[in-house]
Amino acid sequence: MKIAVCIKRVPDMDVRFKIAASGTAVDEAGLKYDMSDFDGYAAEAALQVNEKGGGGEVTALCLGPDAVQETLRKALSMGIDKAVHLKCDAVPFDGWAIAQALAAQLGGGGYDLILFGRMSIDSSNQSVGPMVAELLGLPCVTAASRLDVSGGTGKAQRELEGASETVEFPLPAVVSIDEGVARPRYPSLKGIMAAKKKPLEVKPAQLGAVTVTVTTMELPPERNAGRIIGEGPDMVPELVRLLQTEAKVL
């Protein structure tokens, strides 16, 4: 079986963001980057499906400037077999432009399964996966929290508000992955060392025309700091009282 997993390099969310001088993007100074959270789950799902299927090949794709190769190496160190870097100067905001570049690479690649994270945690558009499915004319399942594949058929579980559903679909297919699948594995030391020697192919990204752009970006207003009022069941009445009288949310 051939599996592709599309990953995105995003800033570490654990920082205080600043808006860049342009007013349309975050200030990148001092930011750290990593694989988008849901893409980590997608990579894990790809590896697990591959392991259960008794071998095959998993390819990771990432679109962006040279720095994304670090993120691809990370995927390789988790155990993914090879990587493709679709090179462009900057990642556009427009998912449609990105989807065209990915579809151009993925189409004709003979993949049985193409995985995405449910959404990227920086732009939260949830769009690229379904757009690629559309471009390739493949069935698409979004936000799968479980994924099983056997004999040319996939089965995915999706979480709904207060319920879950299971859907079945023929392969090849595009699936976007939610966090319910097993936590992404930690790369082993051997995996990290092996990643250096795995193939990483660089190709120019065939981005589509960019039609959607960011015009302004602003930070939410400052909130007051949270307060810990204590610990344990004894504090519940006081918490309820404060939620009623101070926060006025109850």
Partner: protein
């Protein structure tokens, strides 16, 4: 709940910009250790420590270890985390590829060790001791023992300990009484009681390899009559599996101030089967292989705890609103200003930051010389590095643990009363850090090793290995007037160190108590000067980066230079007080009669 993030930016700065770690990949056997691989390994090690080990730290302290009928359980979660640690292959990091290791430079271990100690010292000690046992066996074991045991230690399947201390013999190992009698078949039977044995019994591994100091029946008295033995908890079968239970049992575990998640055990050896490691009566030498590595490791414990305490203290100082800045409100919209605006709070935090970053550079610098000592093709360079490592081992152990403890204490103070209560975890850092100046030879003993053994060796040859690079760095830096505020204080401190060295050497020839009375002050003096040397190198590296247009990392390099400035202005002047105390000699110490106390 305290948090921890591996300070990867600073680690990389030290490794790449200050120490030029790329030179290691030019050494035979280290070809793979390229800067990008080193970075990737550190990043993942940091993630593992922060996400797996750190969350177990506070619960592990609360739960502690449990003892029941000779069996010891580590705190909940430790076993699973240990399995993950082994599955990730981390015990193999620097181990010999012949036994399943990855053969990475020793320096890598220092960096990972710092992260592990920062995130969970109690946990880190289990694999730390196993590595120590690996190291001693690798250097002194017979081929047969090595083939049998080392793969088990490298995979993490088996643990290790070092068993020196007895109830009546701590610092003075010459008076131990554990006996080893030849069994006729090449093995020995050991009988005696060891106390305070870290990781002496636990449920993380299927077997434990104890390295035990004991005396042969005909051994001479004192430390010249001590041999080292390998005593497994379960005797290995021919297939290398744990077989018959050996005669070593855990009598109890200690209830103690800190590192509660690490089992400190009384071990009773009762005709236990063991094999000699190294030569008869040369056990101290073999054990020192383990101890020298362990001493550097203990230094990193001090550094790691100083770092994690600092991270949490800074986060708190930014958030805690209390009082107004002396120069007018900095947070006029709020009820008060963040305490980081108060000079007293900043001063404490800056001191900790300057010590942590200086200690890190110091420890990695020596860590790199351990690699040069073993791998450099030029024997002269190897000897040079070996001297420097020998000189600095007691300094790293004692200076990093003394300042590490001090740092946790300052960080606690930043929290006021909230540091003293358990919730924020700051008091645990202080309690955990307190052991480090005690074990692996108390810091007083480290100081005596430095002054009594290392200084006189080869007529001061070891010290010259340090003095030469310092004078060279000072001289070279004087060419740049912009560096004067850093170089001149270092030059002055260095002069004090040279005077103190001469003074101590001369006075202690006439009266050995002079060496004893000066030792700890001297060690600290050398420590502060070494940090001054490291800070000068760091400032220069940061300025070079800024001059080259460091763009998005500029804030980091500017903070580096500013912290260096603080070090030279506000920390390094301590050398003058130390020098004065050293010059005051031993008379006021030794002339007070014992009855006067």
């Amino acid at each position: 709940m305290p948090t921890y993030k591996a300070p990867l930016d600073d680690m990389r700065f030290v490794l790449h910009d200050v120490l030029d770690v790329a030179q290691l990949s030019a050494l035979p056997g280290y070809e793979e250790a390229t800067p990008d691989l080193i970075d990737a390994i550190l990043e993942e090690a940091g993630r593992f420590c922060a996400e797996v080990l750190q969350p177990l730290n506070q619960p592990g302290d609360a739960a502690g270890c449990t003892y029941e009928q000779g069996e010891v359980k580590a705190p909940p979660g430790f076993k699973e985390a240990y399995q993950q640690y082994c599955a990730g292959g981390w015990p193999a990091l620097t181990a010999d590829p012949k036994y399943g290791g990855q053969g990475m430079p020793h320096l890598m271990r220092s960096v990972v060790e710092e992260m592990m100690c920062a995130s969970n010292l109690s946990f880190a000690m289990y694999p730390g001791l196993a590595h120590g046992a690996y190291h001693a066996m690798h250097t002194h074991g017979t081929e047969e023992l090595k083939d049998k045991l080392l793969p088990k230690l490298v995979s993490g399947q088996w643990g290790g300990t070092m068993c020196l201390t007895e109830p009546h013999a701590g610092t003075d190992l010459g008076i131990i009484t554990t006996k080893a009698v030849p069994a006729g078949d090449g093995a020995y039977r050991l009988t005696g009681t060891k106390i305070f044995i870290s990781a002496g019994e636990h449920d993380l591994t299927e077997n434990i390899i104890h390295l035990v100091l004991a005396k042969l029946p005909d051994a001479p008295g004192g430390t010249r009559g001590i041999s080292m033995f390998m005593v497994p908890k379960f005797l290995p079968t021919d297939e290398g599996r744990p077989g018959t239970r050996n005669g070593v049992t855990c009598g109890s575990i200690e209830h103690k101030m800190g590192i509660k998640g690490n089992a400190t055990c009384v071990l009773n050896f009762d005709n236990a089967t063991g094999w000699m490691v190294g030569d008869a009566n040369k056990g101290m030498r073999a054990m020192f292989t383990m101890m020298n590595g362990a001493r550097l490791g203990v230094g990193l414990q001090g550094l790691g705890l100083g770092e994690v305490a600092y991270q949490n203290a800074v986060a708190y100082a930014r958030e805690r609103l209390q009082g107004r800045s002396l120069t007018g409100a900095k947070n006029p919209g709020g009820p008060a200003d963040p305490i980081i605006e108060h000079p007293a709070v900043r001063q404490g935090l800056l001191r900790v930051k300057a010590l942590n970053e200086g200690n890190r550079a110091f420890a990695y610098w020596i860590g790199m010389h351990i690699d040069l000592e073993h791998r450099h093709p030029d024997p002269a360079r190897r000897a040079e590095s070996a001297d420097l490592v020998a000189l600095m081992t007691p300094v790293i152990k004692a200076f990093l643990t003394d300042t590490g403890f001090e740092s946790t204490n300052i960080a606690l103070q930043t929290f006021g009363g909230h540091g003293y209560v358990r919730e924020y975890g700051m008091e645990q850092f202080v309690r955990d850090a307190r052991i480090a100046p005690i074990y692996e030879g108390t810091n007083a003993v480290q100081a005596m090793d430095l002054v009594g053994r290392k200084l006189p060796e080869g007529m001061g040859r070891l010290l010259r290995r340090f003095f030469h690079p310092v004078s060279a760095e000072v001289e070279a830096s004087r060419a740049d007037p912009a560096l004067a505020e850093f170089v001149e204080p270092l030059a002055k401190a260095f002069e004090r160190l040279q005077q103190a060295t001469q003074g101590v050497a001369m006075r202690s020839m006439a009266n050995p108590d002079e060496a004893g009375a000066a030792a700890e002050d001297y060690l600290h003096l050398l420590g502060y000067v070494t940090l001054g040397y490291m800070w000068l190198r760091m400032v220069k590296a940061a300025r070079a980066r800024l001059a080259a247009g460091a763009d998005d990392r500029a804030a980091f390099y500017e903070a580096k230079v500013a912290t260096g400035r603080f070090y030279f202005a506000k920390v390094l002047p301590q050398v003058h007080a130390l020098a004065a105390r050293i010059a005051a000699g031993a008379t006021t110490v030794m002339s007070v009669p014992v009855d006067a106390f």
